[in-house]
Symmetry: D2
Subunit: 337 residues, 4 copies
């Protein structure tokens, strides 16, 4: 349940609330946006109902949460969460754009592309060092070397670095180099990984899986949140359907749904969401118009030579042109890029 405390609550009254919740074994989480005036008590629902919290002094009201996600529920945090990556907030009026190649392939190319996407207006750099590949015989990523190249690109350009972590054993390593830990679509229900990135405290970009229902998705976010890490950015990247005309079906309706049900920011990845560069720009525009809190775009200098996902990568000049168009759409819906 969610407990709204009065602003006038005294410290001893607050302690009493906490003590009572402790008696029934409920875990307590404070809503970060509200300076300790809202808390969630998670435990046995029957016991929490009977604990008489509502009658305590300093308690304004108690809201039972019917949804299985609690900390991801907007009731826990009535305002939009601002998730900060360094000084850059996700969830505010300005939309961050993450851009870069699917994989880090080598130092030279990554630095070159980093400069180009920065110039076009991107504020974060993407690039995989650990790659989840369908085939064991495909390029699996450069590992730590790739991370180190990303870090160098950050030094040179000031772009923040977003990169994927796939293994609980690598979380610490990736944390040393990255600004945002990406959990990929295939790991959206890799619960041990979610716990581990939760414990890390780093901002987490949690991509929706190809067949993740909305509730399941918020529950995966809940794994991170309930491990003490409130810095979760969601990302729609296309779901799997019966139609093979596009690689995935970009389900943009999840953007307003998430904004209604949760306080978490949600960005849009039209590159994976369509699987072909030609549809990236119109779907990026649609993503912004639907209310997306940012974009993630694959950009590559020579898409046909890309180690992975070349088909869906934009050339830098097309990325720059798209950014220009996006600014108009963002303005039309009261945001900016």
């Amino acid at each position: 349940m969610i407990v709204h405390l009065r602003k006038s609550i005294t410290e001893s009254q607050r302690k009493e609330v906490v003590r009572r919740l402790g008696l029934i074994g409920a875990a307590i989480y404070y809503s970060p946006g509200t300076e300790r005036t809202i808390l969630a008590a998670i435990g046995d629902p029957a016991a929490t109902r009977k604990a008489g919290i509502e009658e305590l002094r300093g308690v304004a009201r108690v809201i039972p949460i019917d949804t299985p996600y609690k900390l991801a529920n907007r009731e826990f945090r009535p305002d939009d969460a601002l998730v900060h990556v360094g000084k850059l907030p996700f969830g505010g009026p300005k939309l961050p754009v993450i851009a870069g190649p699917c994989s880090v392939e080598n130092r030279t190319d990554l630095l070159a592309i980093a400069h180009k996407v920065k110039k076009a207006g991107a504020t974060l750099l993407r690039g995989g060092a650990f790659k989840p590949r369908t085939s064991p015989y495909s390029f699996q990523g450069l590992g730590e070397e790739g991370l180190s190249i990303l870090a160098e690109a950050r030094e040179e350009t000031g772009l923040y670095v977003v990169t994927e972590v796939m293994d609980t054993r690598d979380v610490e390593l990736v944390c040393r180099y990255a600004d945002v830990l990406q959990v990929g679509a295939r790991n959206v229900q890799n619960f041990n990984l979610l716990k581990e990135v939760g414990k890390s405290g780093k901002p987490v970009l949690l991509k929706r899986g190809m067949m993740t229902k909305l509730t399941e998705y918020l529950m995966s976010a809940e794994y991170v949140l309930s491990n003490g890490n409130y810095n979760v950015i969601l990302c729609e990247r296309g779901i799997r359907s019966f139609d093979t005309a596009t690689r995935n079906v970009l389900d943009l309706s999840i953007v307003p749904l998430i904004h209604h049900m949760s306080h978490l920011p949600v960005i849009v990845d039209p590159s994976h969401g369509t699987g072909a560069w030609r549809w990236v720009a119109p779907m990026a525009r649609a993503g912004v118009a639907a209310g997306g809190d940012g974009l993630m775009i694959e950009v590559h200098e020579v898409p046909e030579d890309a180690f992975s996902d070349g088909d869906q990568s934009l050339l830098p000049r097309r990325f720059a042109a798209m950014m220009k168009d996006l600014r108009k759409v963002a303005t039309a819906v009261g945001r900016r890029i």
Copy 2:
């Protein structure tokens, strides 16, 4: 195959082309946008290849069409088709908006809502007189009485009338009252109905089915086109997925795909595409940003009393507010409403 004729072709040269194609049994269709300079010859592919059409005088070039849809292929009509409903074109810079209740329920309410959507900027009125209902015990529509009410609303407001036809036996009747024949999602592969609306010559609004692949969809359009009716407007209205968070998943990527593969205009129906009024406005904005050539929106004065689809119907004031926001998005992508 598609045959491009030279502008300088003489009448006797043109007749020779037609004669030769006749010899191999090919059906001939002229591209409407090009004043008889492009034609499609549809018949046995091997025979058409061997017929030596390319060598004939007055023939500029011959393009084999690998896709199963021929007349719906952009090769047949390189420019965007403008489908006119009266004086109103679909496919141009100005986006028509179709609005109104799911069903025609009675004369008074329909006239009232017609005036309101007109005032807010709609240019066509929707309303079902024949309703495809999952249950035989649900309201099945007012039939001809409903059509007559729609026609009266047109007289009063100047809105064009869009209404569904479900039965080959009703095509003639519906043609007497409607400006646009709607073929619903459940009838997207009712091929006899497609032939019949093809023969009618009336503008056809052909909705995508819940599980229609892009190619299948263009083939359904081809049924109408090949029966001599080039006035086809496509409409994305959501596909069925594993997630029940929304009634359907609005697959906006089909908009740029159709624009690339075909010359036909495609509009967006976010009411069926989401199934809940709350998501209609953001998804309408996304539909326009993705390049949609118009919108179809359910509006009802008292959604909770609607005979059908109340959940997804906007109140007139919300419709008006949405139209205002849409104008900005349309401008941002070089269109207007």
Copy 3:
């Protein structure tokens, strides 16, 4: 609601029940398997609840039906329905097998294949005279000529004839030739067609659509039943999924689900259900083991020359071998072929 009458009910008591239901405008349907001791009253639920039917003499009990399907509900007909095609029952211990080509192509071939499938144990002959084809340029069927060939094959072989009807205008014509009217997957929600085959009284083979939910499927059956035709045979033929390894996914779990929720027989079509001859035999075995009440199998002498669906057609000798194996499986689950 469902009304169970006592066996001892007098005629005047029965008339009183009917009169009362008439007063509240409920339509009355008698359960065919029970000699007028069970009836369904379909009308406004609130009114039927208040009508005091349970208190009437001769009424044993009243069961409210929460499902939207009423006559298809097992409560309406507690025993399995036996749907008779001539003297052949669907729904009993002996499993009818429908076999034949996708389309009727010509007289000679159809008669030849009819004799072969009969010899191998089939009891009904399939063959399309009206074909729902994705492309307007594909073979659309021989029409009435095809129907006449089917009727001739029946004369020669004694096989009952199953053939598809696609258009409300053709129902009367097809009834003159066929023993079973097939409503195809694409027409499962062509409600006017369902009404029309309902009125015809002929046995109806109603195929599930590619995207039909169980409840929707039973509602489509309800359209036929509520038009007075209780002779409905259901047929699982595969649903559409994300995987293209098979043409469709044969959803056999619907067989026990239908048996639980409804009294209607349900057969299995592994030809469309898989789309490739190689998987037909194992999936036919699985269909029988799951409790299917019969099978529908495509057989063709020269599959590579078939006008339609050659890939999924069995050679006659493979059909005969499959039938032999099926007999063992049928015996193992207490049925026979």
Copy 4:
């Protein structure tokens, strides 16, 4: 590519084949069923084609493999693989049945259920010690204590133990207790976990994911195989669809498809495949009739009190009755239980 060596090949000829393949950097895998007469060389396709292996002495023939899976391809191992768990083979005429509760809940109940499923004919015991739960607040499994209870049940009953591993860090631990490592549906593309269970050498039960295409599934198996572990058992457990009438759609057609494309055994899990105990028995029968190489069934003494998946758990007496029926179906298709 696959290289068939002659039986008469000499050791020095064999070394030359290996040397040549080494020159082009190909990895070499020997087909386990064929005593070193078939090998797969995996490397750059162009280089392997040009390496002139076919001309070498002792080489019978060379088969290029077009599919992305190589070691899972039946070409690599023409006969059915027998995967042994202790003395128990999967893939032979006798079908192993894995049964037990979803989760290990406590020692007493697990030992009791183990004895009951053993008595009814099961040969392996299932039970989760590490549980992948959608909610972080749900029971997450007993961990090592659960593993230890499973090992005790093995001592008492002689049943082999199958249990899930979710984290690369736990593979070693689970190996100490289990006979078969289960990789669950949500981890089917957790590639690091697949590598780790590959290195372990233990038999692996690799469940198909809710959205895994056939090719992707075989590629996931390839991750295990290419890490040197050929003991892979596949398992169909239902895919996600648009219909919520069952929890998942059991896609039995994958059984004959896998048998055609691969040598790996594939079993069927009708408990997850349907999500409700009522449909487990008919779908288990269907699974055996389709050619499944075994079954995995959830059994619980008091399903309504189960910590997880109670709805789909059979009571022990229902499990025993099902086993009796299954024996007949197995016999009918030339297998036994």
